[in-house]
């Protein structure tokens, strides 16, 4: 799959991730700030619309007020003419299209002594025809109605609370009342103009800045004059409406409106956040425009959606471009990888990709080139060292063979004597030696151990062994042989090498043993029917230490069938892993066993060697081992 988790994919994904996070953050900031800006703008705009409409309605109401005020002068002038008074009310309705009815209600018994006198003209709500009638009657006692009582008592003009005019216009209305006073300032009549709430509602419903927004108009006492829904006009108040909603801020808005304040406030209707801008009218009414934020932010939300889509497409394009660009840039890495693989496979001169750029890739190229060069150099060095080591090993092997060849192998095995010996060097070449020769009736034999191991010891071993043999062939006494070898080795012995040497000579006819122990381990004598024992000897100096030392020899008569066991300290000092040594005691116990005593020389050597190896186990042999058995 080309879209594998390659370096370029991972790098592209990382870049994509960073850019995406950046994009989300920027989008978030833009969204929040644009929302804030738009909300603020919407509030300001709604506020302006509110102010404009308040001014508009105030203007309309002022025309009503001025019409009524003008008419009050006429009524004052013609307060005795019933006919003219009717005419005035007709003119008020006719003059101002917003006025649907007008009355001049006189105080009781003021006009012509009548209890009720109130000429009233109105537009018939069904036909639109202008009609006139006497308003007051026992059923319609206007002296108790608000539009009459308030201006009568205060002497001030008054806008009434909305009410249903049952005796007059037969519809929901609000009435502007203007008191007519005599020269003493007493109110004797009230002239009125009725405004249809239906008309007001229609006007206000046109104030509609957003799809779900609505405008409310309430009276000084909080009654709805107009609302954006079918409220029970005239009876429902802003308070009763506020109680229906959960958000206490709606009630606060209502209170502020009734108090005549202006302002802006947010509130929740269910899950929808809305805001209201409100402000008072000069006559004590208050108007509010309510808008939902959902409407306000709709366009900005659309814009954000657009930004997200464009951003996502952009990110996708960026990812693809990034991917291919990085793949192109990292192509040399793949080439280097292939080259490195070739190098690893052994082609140290594998061609490296050419690099033109002067960057990390070039550094990689140089490093790889350097590595190639170093590997070749090291390989050459290793080859040289290996061949040198091989040569040395070969020579050591040859040395080992020569050394092995030096030691006599054709062991005599006849009625007079049988011999056997083995040397196991700890290293390729060793410092242990044995020798034997039969000169006339005399069997010369020796075992020696050169201090140290390896090549230095091997040289001394070689000359010592040769001297032993030569001097024995000359028929010298063991004492004389030891003395001569000592003087020879001690001379020019700067390395302070020395040899512990046991030399013996058995007269095969008389079975007399003459021996000289030059610092060597005591040998074991195994008589045919007695217990084996270590042969005590005069302690002579090890060979090569002290030039001119006089060696002393001793004699021992042996019986036929006696066995001798000679060995070097590789036997008694063979160690287990815990440093316990094989020891002389264990060796003596081994050779004391009845089954051991019946073995021939060759089997004795093998038995001792097996015992030593079995004792040491896997522990490394750290000294040469020599075992030499003689049976006479």
């Amino acid at each position: 799959m080309w879209f594998s988790k390659s370096f370029s994919t991972r790098l592209s994904l990382n870049v994509l991730l960073i850019v995406t996070i950046f994009f989300i953050v920027v989008l978030g900031i833009v969204a929040v700030s644009s929302h804030l800006l738009i909300s603020e703008e919407a509030t300001r705009s709604a506020s302006n619309i509110l102010k404009a409409n308040i001014l508009d309605i105030e203007k309309t109401l002022q025309t009503v007020e001025s019409t009524v005020k003008d008419a009050s002068w006429l009524a004052k002038e013609n307060k005795d003419s019933e006919k003219y008074l009717y005419h005035i009310t007709q003119r008020v309705v006719e003059e101002n299209s917003n006025i649907i009815g007008s009355a001049i209600a006189f105080d009781s018994c003021y006009f012509d002594g009548r209890h009720f006198f109130s000429p009233y003209s109105y537009e018939d709500p069904e036909t639109g025809e202008l009609k006139s009638k006497e308003l007051g009657s026992a059923e319609n006692n206007y002296f108790t109605q608000e539009w009459y009582t308030v201006p009568k008592e205060t002497g001030q003009p008054h806008w009434s609370e909305p009410y249903f005019d049952a005796g007059g216009g037969e519809q929901m209305m609000t009435t502007y009342s203007y008191p007519i006073k005599d020269s003493a300032g007493n109110v004797y009549a009230i002239i009125t103009a009725d405004i249809s709430l239906d008309w007001l509602s229609k006007k206000i419903d046109q104030i509609h800045p957003y799809e779900h927004s609505f405008t409310t108009l309430i009276s000084a006492n909080g009654k709805y004059l107009s609302a954006g829904w079918q409220a029970n006009l005239g009876s429902e108040t802003a308070y009763t409406y506020a109680e229906k909603l959960d958000d206490p801020r709606v009630l606060e808005i209502s209170k502020n409106m009734v108090a005549g304040d202006s302002g802006t406030m947010r509130y929740w209707v269910g899950s929808k956040l809305s805001f209201a801008v409100y402000g008072p009218l000069s006559n004590g009414w208050s108007m509010a425009i309510n808008c939902e934020y959902g409407d306000v932010l709709e366009r900005s939300s659309q814009m954000h959606m657009m930004m997200i889509i464009v951003g996502l497409v952009g990110l996708l394009i960026m990812f693809i471009m990034c991917y291919f660009k990085i793949r192109q840039l990292t192509q040399p890495l793949k080439d280097f990888s292939a080259s490195a693989l070739n190098i690893a496979k052994g082609d140290f001169n594998a061609k490296l990709p050419e690099v033109k750029s002067k960057d990390e890739i070039l550094q990689l190229h140089d490093s790889l080139a350097y590595m190639q060069q170093s590997i070749v150099t090291y390989l050459e060095q290793i080859e040289t060292a290996t061949s040198a080591k091989k040569r040395m090993e070969t020579q050591l092997y040859i040395g080992q063979k020569i050394q092995e060849g030096m030691l006599p192998k054709n062991f005599p095995n006849d009625s007079r004597c049988s011999l056997n010996a083995k040397v196991i060097p700890a290293k390729e070449v060793g410092g242990d030696l044995y020798d034997f020769t039969i000169n006339d009736n005399r069997l010369y034999f020796s075992v020696g151990d050169v201090s140290g191991k390896g090549v230095p010891a091997a040289f001394v071993m070689a000359i010592t062994r040769v001297m032993c043999h030569l001097f024995a062939d000359l028929g010298l006494s063991v004492q004389e042989i030891a003395t001569r070898i000592n003087n020879s080795v001690a001379k020019n012995n700067d390395a302070n090498m020395f040899v512990t040497l046991f030399m013996g000579c058995i007269n095969l006819e008389t079975k007399q043993l003459e021996y000289c122990n030059a610092g060597h381990n005591p040998i074991i004598v195994i008589p045919p029917d007695e217990n084996p024992y270590y042969l005590k000897a005069i302690p002579n100096m090890a060979v090569g230490v002290w030039s001119g030392f006089e060696y002393k020899s001793e004699n021992l008569d042996l019986r036929p069938g006696t066995k001798l066991l000679l060995y070097t300290d590789g036997v008694n000092e063979a160690e287990k892993a815990d440093k316990e040594q094989f020891g002389e005691e264990r060796l003596l116990q081994l050779v004391s066993k009845p089954e051991f005593r019946n073995l021939n020389s060759e089997d004795m050597v093998s038995a001792v060697l097996d015992a030593v190896k079995g004792f040491a186990g896997d522990n490394e042999q750290n000294d040469d081992i020599t075992i030499f058995a003689i049976t006479i």
């Binding site: 700890a426 151990d449 050169v450 201090s451 140290g452 191991k453 302070n496 090498m497 020395f498 512990t500 122990n517 030059a518 610092g519 060597h520 381990n521 005591p522 302690p539 002579n540 100096m541 090890a542 230490v545 002290w546 030392f549 300290d569 000092e573 440093k579 750290n622 000294d623």
Partner: protein, 100 residues
């Protein structure tokens, strides 16, 4: 093999501790190198805690003795364990090196 060398007035005290075998003979040779220098040395080696010596070890003691003799000095080894003393006896080294 631990080697402690301490000079007290004109006497050099050497204390040996442990085994002297093939594996550490070279190290021992380096350790006692300072003893191979100086005029008329007076060296005393305490062998109380020396467990064992191989023939290579003996060679080094021999070298030391020869070096001391050449400089007209004096070398004494003391308190050897029996098994160590035996090696010195068998090889005849007790005839060359003064052991007390």
């Amino acid at each position: 093999m631990e080697v402690k060398i301490e000079k007290i007035e004109d006497k050099t005290m050497v204390v040996l501790n442990g085994r002297l075998d093939t594996t550490n003979a070279d190290k021992f040779q380096q350790d006692i190198a300072p003893l191979m220098q100086g005029d008329t040395p007076n060296i005393e080696i305490d062998c109380t805690d020396m467990e064992y010596t191989s023939s290579q070890g003996l060679r080094l003691f021999l070298m030391l003795q020869k070096s001391v003799t050449a400089r007209k000095g004096n070398l004494v080894m003391r308190n050897m364990k029996p098994n160590v003393k035996e090696v010195f006896d068998i090889t005849g080294f007790s005839n060359i090196i003064r052991i007390i």
